[in-house]
Symmetry: C2
Subunit: 273 residues, 2 copies
Amino acid sequence: MHRWIDGQPATAVNLQNRGLAYGDGLFETVAVRAGRPSLLEHHLQRLASGCQRLAIDADLPLIRDELLRFASQLGEGVAKLIVTRGDSQRGYAPVAGAAPRRILQGSPLPAYPAANGENGISLFACQTRLAEQPLLAGLKHLNRLEQVLARAEWQDAEHAEGLVRDTQGRLIEGVYSNLFLVREGVLLTADLSRCGVAGVMRAALLEQAPALGITVQVRDLALTDLEQADEVFVCNSVYGIWPVRACPAHTLNWPPGPLTRKLQAVARTLLDN
Amino acid sequence: MHRWIDGQPATAVNLQNRGLAYGDGLFETVAVRAGRPSLLEHHLQRLASGCQRLAIDADLPLIRDELLRFASQLGEGVAKLIVTRGDSQRGYAPVAGAAPRRILQGSPLPAYPAANGENGISLFACQTRLAEQPLLAGLKHLNRLEQVLARAEWQDAEHAEGLVRDTQGRLIEGVYSNLFLVREGVLLTADLSRCGVAGVMRAALLEQAPALGITVQVRDLALTDLEQADEVFVCNSVYGIWPVRACPAHTLNWPPGPLTRKLQAVARTLLDN
């Protein structure tokens, strides 16, 4: 197993790490193929934005170098990067001058069924609702109990993802993916200014859409938007895009549609480059 | 320094610990005096409740034994207990059979100025608002970025605590304490069913109040309640009770009042037993 802390092989982190104490940090889950991190710039950009919002003074050029070096050694798999505010004594107050810690862990690419991408997946309807916290919305921070609770709601293999809504009932995302709908040729995805994780694959797809002639709306989404959707898909930076073929709890079904297939190819290219 | 993992001396935790990955766990901050944990039953009760709500299958009798043993070795100080869901591979799904980890860390009793308890403290008015998440409300879980952000708002030594409100503007708590108001002899504290940490000192005071002939109201509190309060104090399980003498941002001042003084003595007794 490949595991580094601050660029050195390590398997354990100091008990005083604020990541453990308070979830005081951020992470990125980076697909690695042929020794290279996929969507590297998007990951680094989100990390930079997260560090800025949480006032974590991470050395981003150093993180880039380490990630490249780590990916090169890993070859193929998933590189999980955690950046925490560093170590400190007890107490919430960030300590001036504490050195942020960089943690890298490698794992194999997950063995998802090929059918997920080919035929689409079934979406579980989670009861766990996301709280509205604009200060943390969009960030891939280490405070992930909501996702743990949502993911614990189903154990069957039938559902490959769970649909997560916010406390007002708006559709937000999957437990470990972002959600897109297609309605009359327009691509819809949730506004993530109150809660949710702004995924890098989501960001990359939103960037690509105009050049592909696809109109995008980033806005609040209600259950009626799901009911009226022509196509539904989820995406993340590891598997790319999976069509959603059903949400049984709401007795909804969709065929994998043309826009989903088109973007699936785009996502594949993004991950391979 | 006293540091244990699962009952054994250790200074570092496995990188795969879910406490680090997701803040997937709980903690207790236990004052230790004369080799004994203060408010032991209250801490264990809150921990048990938290484990039940998060479905963490911790061995509570073992935790009690370890905490007693740890406190006996520490003598005097603060024992911070962290219980996480254990280690797992990447992925939010709790792994069946993962052994929850028990982490204990000792530190000296904080050297707070005696004036905090004698003359009262000044309360900073935090801009950071707590999100409403009933699934996590009341728990002392490891997802504490809101507290980190709130505590980072002031650096001066003038304010010993920060007043934290929720996204609707209700008064909830201090950054590391619970808040009580006194109005016409009635003790008021915030309802914590949407957010906030249900502190063990708060619980102990609420239990004692009836026998002391004190009427208690646990309800939503607005800024007007603070403005109309005759007395204000904060409490936690390490320092007991500090009167609040001022909240400069709202140009409010209070003299340390008789009910505060009475409960301060009660808190002292609770911590010493």
